[in-house]
């Protein structure tokens, strides 16, 4: 039986459309100008990665892997994964995707950690923020791709923004959780010694929440990578674009190779961030 029509869905839709259209007319230009620095940043990271010799990029990643994990096996693994991306002919696109990931991750950190901290400090803010995070995580990304594209046009920036919206919630949640999980008695000790809120946050809560925050960074990175194909639909270049081309032209090989390169990047990010997170949990054990 049909549900009785209470609201006129059509006029509701039209109302929303009208609102967004008005938004686009009023703000699209200024938003595009505002997002200019973001674009410049993304482009320069991309240029840097693509113009650097491949062995230098691998070497830098290997060094990062070493400082993150202090394990030779991981350094070797990272090197092999990067070589694999090169060998299957995905180096240049891989670098484009890597650049998008790095910039998206940095933006997620800038947004996610402060929001997570705020949530842990204010019960009220948390109550407002939690449902918003739920929506961000469950709303199909195509839905917000439309207004984002309308506002920013096709290109790198909307792809970046869509990636951030999709990927930032786990970092926010785990930052909040990490701070809340800090041992109550340790916080009491900090208070008893006359620490200010700021001293407690920077000196005790954040350092002790770091393993959880690292887990959040790990999750965020993984989710950002899973957005690569969707992001390429609105103009992000790189591996996702190749997968999309594979689908459009029904070329399995093209899609598979690019897909494998995405997997390689995912494993690389995952292992390095996880290893670093583990090392934070057991202070200094690896250093002796």
């Amino acid at each position: 039986m049909a549900f009785p029509e209470i609201l006129d869905a059509r006029s509701l839709r039209q109302g929303i459309d009208g609102f967004v259209n008005q938004l686009v007319i009023d703000y699209a230009d200024s938003l595009e100008r505002l997002s200019q620095p973001l674009l410049t940043f993304l482009v320069s990271v991309e240029q840097l990665l693509r113009n650097s010799p491949w062995y230098l990029v691998i070497a830098v990643l290997a060094v990062i892997a070493w400082f993150g994990s202090r394990r030779w096996t991981l350094v070797v693994g990272v090197t092999l994964l990067m070589l694999f991306i090169g060998v299957i002919g995905q180096w240049d696109r891989g670098m484009q995707t890597l650049a998008l990931m790095i910039v998206a991750l940095i933006m997620c950190l800038i947004v996610g950690i402060p929001v997570g901290v705020l949530m842990s400090l204010s019960e009220r803010f948390r109550k407002v923020a939690l449902p918003i995070l739920d929506v961000m995580q469950t709303m199909p990304s195509f839905v917000y791709l439309i207004p984002v594209v309308m506002l920013f046009g096709l290109g790198k920036v909307p792809a970046l923004i869509a990636t951030i919206v999709y990927a930032v919630p786990p970092l926010i949640r785990l930052t909040d959780l990490g701070i809340r999980l800090v041992d109550h008695s340790v916080m009491e000790a900090a208070t008893a010694f006359g620490a200010t809120r700021r001293q407690k946050l920077l000196g005790v809560q954040l350092p002790l929440a770091l393993p959880n925050i690292m887990a959040g960074i790990n999750q965020t990175t993984m989710m950002a990578l899973s957005m690569v194909v969707v992001a390429s639909m609105i103009g992000a270049r790189g591996l996702g674009q190749e997968v999309l081309a594979g689908i459009n032209r029904l070329e399995v090989g093209r899609g598979l190779l690019a897909g494998l390169a995405i997997v390689a990047l995912a494993i690389l990010f995952d292992r390095v961030t996880q290893a670093y997170g583990k090392r934070l949990q057991y202070p200094k054990q690896g250093d002796k």
Partner: protein, 401 residues
């Protein structure tokens, strides 16, 4: 003026404590309050004054409110009503920044579960209070190194807390609390989580440090033996109210309620009571420079068989009347016979074998050897013997007839 003056503290936990305050002040009991309103009565009309330099023990079983009470002193918990004065200043009137200054400089705290910072090295843990004050890291570490040494942990500075045993962790906790050189040390069941041998060791360490530092220490415990061992004064808390306060001897020898009496019943009195509890002070003493004739007259006049002879404040020995009557020298010096002595801090248990072995008087002296009095055998027996407790119980039961 008392160092810490707590007066009329009530603490009610729950969503709307103020509303139930009047009812509680009029005598609503803890259980009734909980049943009526779901509020928990934490403390009721607690009044304490703690003097500078004393080690004040607050004793009670779990749920008695002792941890709540100690947290009022540095305002980790605010009372529902009442006042807390430190050096005469009501800390409840302090602004947030003044309160932070008070916590940084005037007092520090040692916690039951140590509450060390797991991400910091032992040295940085000890330096924490100093770095929070804004002292630069290098100087803070120098001071912290010194305190680590004082608690017997030199060389452990670079380790992390989880690498140390419980006893060592609490030494770090103690060093952390002392490093800011506060007047007041708040110790919340500081040794309760440690096993008995380590606990004893930590008690000794605390007493040793206290002898040098003379801090005002508020010490929370649920262990009466610990309370009696450490405390200059003891307050006993039950269901958030004080039931008795006094020095250890008071608590042990004249418990004011059955609750306290129950507590002290099983205490090993011989361990708790010291030689200074069983002193008999000589009515008067003679000096080594007194002439024999004078001494003899004085003793005969008072009917003494023997008398105590001092040289300055130090015990020389005793002279007996018969000795003096046979004496040929001018002054007492040569007629004095030596006696054995014990320190005033010696416990009665260690005194007993000597008392049984021989009947000669035993003198009591300070650590530095100054004479304070004689061991009174009758006092020893009266204090140690459980007969007293039996008498008390007997007097409580009414005759049947």
């Amino acid at each position: 003026m008392a160092k810490i003056d707590i007066s009329g503290i009530y603490k009610i936990f729950g969503p709307n404590p103020k509303r139930h305050l009047q009812a509680v002040k009029k005598g609503l009991s803890k259980d009734d309050l909980l049943a009526d309103s779901g509020h928990t009565l934490g403390l009721q009309d607690v009044n304490l004054s703690i003097e500078e330099g004393e080690l004040f023990v607050i004793m009670g079983l779990s749920g008695s409110g002792k941890s709540t009470l100690i947290r009022h002193i540095n305002r980790l918990i605010d009372p529902t009503s009442g006042s807390i004065r430190i050096d005469g200043e009501n800390v409840l009137n302090l602004r947030q920044d003044e309160l932070i200054q008070l916590r940084r400089h005037k007092m520090s705290m040692v916690f039951q579960r140590f509450a060390l910072f797991p991400h910091k090295t032992v040295l940085d843990n000890v330096a924490y209070g100093l770095t929070v004050q804004g002292i630069d890291k290098k100087n803070a570490r120098v001071i912290a190194t010194d305190w680590l040494e004082q608690v017997g942990l030199q060389g452990f500075g670079d380790q992390h807390p989880h690498e140390l045993s419980g006893g060592m962790q609490q030494r770090v906790g103690l060093a952390r609390a002392l490093a800011t050189n506060p007047d007041i040390l708040l110790m919340d069941e500081a040794f309760s989580a440690l096993d008995p041998l380590i606990r004893k060791e930590m008690q000794d360490l605390l007493m040793k440090l206290q002898q040098q530092l003379h801090k005002t220490i508020v010490f929370i415990t649920h262990d009466l033996d610990e309370a009696l061992r450490l405390g200059n004064r003891i307050a006993i808390l039950k269901d958030g109210a004080l039931v008795q306060q006094g020095d250890p001897q008071d608590i042990l020898l004249s418990p004011q309620t059955d609750y306290v009496a129950d507590f002290v019943k099983d205490v090993n009195r011989g361990k708790v009571l010291k030689a200074h509890h069983v002193l008999a002070k000589p009515v008067s003493t003679l000096s080594t420079s007194t002439t024999v004739a004078k001494a003899r007259d004085w003793m005969m006049r008072h009917g003494f068989d023997y008398a105590t002879v001092l040289e300055g404040n130090y015990l020389k020995g005793i002279v007996t009347l018969s000795n003096l009557q046979a004496a040929t020298q001018e002054t007492l010096r040569e007629s004095v016979s030596p006696v054995s002595s014990v320190l005033e801090s010696a416990d009665l248990e260690s005194l007993m074998p000597r008392m049984i072995r021989d009947t000669a008087p035993i003198a009591v002296t300070t650590d530095t050897g100054e004479f304070v009095g004689w061991v009174s055998r009758s006092k020893v027996i009266r204090l140690i013997s459980p007969a007293q407790a039996v008498d008390r119980e007997a007097s409580l039961t009414e005759p049947v007839e």
